[in-house]
């Protein structure tokens, strides 16, 4: 299956991109996605091992399972207002 990763703010600056489509085996979790991204090497290994994530706009834990077409946003610490 394919999912879409989004990187914001400091994460986007570190990754050099705001979007990354990733192929994963069925049943993969957020943690698996993070490992897959980090395994690409520099600069992707700069993604923290357990970043805050939202799946389809909902904050989720690292053990949440992904499904085809999910939008996974990696969210640096927020500072709105």
């Amino acid at each position: 299956m394919q999912v879409r990763s989004l990187f914001f703010a400091a994460y986007r600056d570190a990754m050099g991109t705001g979007t990354l489509d990733v192929d994963l085996p069925e049943g993969a979790t957020v943690g698996d996605l993070v490992s897959s991204i980090r395994s690409r090497g520099a600069p992707f290994n700069r993604l923290p091992k357990a970043p805050a994530v939202a799946i389809n706009h909902e904050v989720m834990r690292g053990d949440a399972r992904l499904t085809e077409g999910d939008e996974i946003a990696f969210l640096p610490p927020v500072a709105g207002g």
Partner: protein
């Protein structure tokens, strides 16, 4: 600034994430109700300094669909607490100059106690829960993302 009308919650309040300059008078006009005796308008603004450094501006970035969803949730919670849906919250994104408004929160209420409570609740939650980031643009040309709060921890605490 027509944007605040864009996303109107089921219960009558309005929220928006906008790129244009926020006009406080326009925000105030949206909460007007003849039954109300108190209106409170909070404005967050870009300051000209941060930890001793001169700041020339601030770049705001949002994960827009999620920020709108979360803003709606915050305002719904505030409306339940307050017992009024006469609330407007507008958050700006993009490049802001010093003195420009980054967030405007207008609350209109029958009595002032609830207006103060709801206004304060909303700004505190906005800072904790909204997927928004800001980068200080220093006068010397450097820039740095402002250290924020981890979203995950907040969610765990619920």
């Amino acid at each position: 600034m027509n944007a605040p009308a864009r996303d109107q919650g089921a219960s009558g309040y309005r929220i928006a994430i906008v790129r244009e300059i926020i006009d406080p008078a326009a925000v105030l006009a949206l909460v007007r109700d003849p039954a109300d005796g108190a209106v409170l308008l909070f404005l967050g603004k870009v300051r000209d300094h941060a930890e001793g450094r001169r700041v020339g501006g601030m770049r705001y970035e949002a994960y827009q669909p999620m920020a709108e969803k979360e803003l709606n949730a915050i305002v719904e919670e505030a409306a339940r607490q307050l017992g009024t849906d006469r609330i407007v919250v507008v958050h700006r994104v993009g490049d802001l100059a010093v003195g420009e408004v980054s967030v405007a929160i207008a609350v209109s209420s029958s009595h002032r106690g609830e207006a103060y409570q709801a206004s304060r609740f909303i700004i505190e939650e906005v800072k904790k829960r909204l997927p928004v980031w800001k980068q200080e643009q220093y006068a010397d040309g450097e820039a740095a993302w402002v250290q924020g709060q981890t979203l995950e921890a907040i969610e765990d605490a619920r």
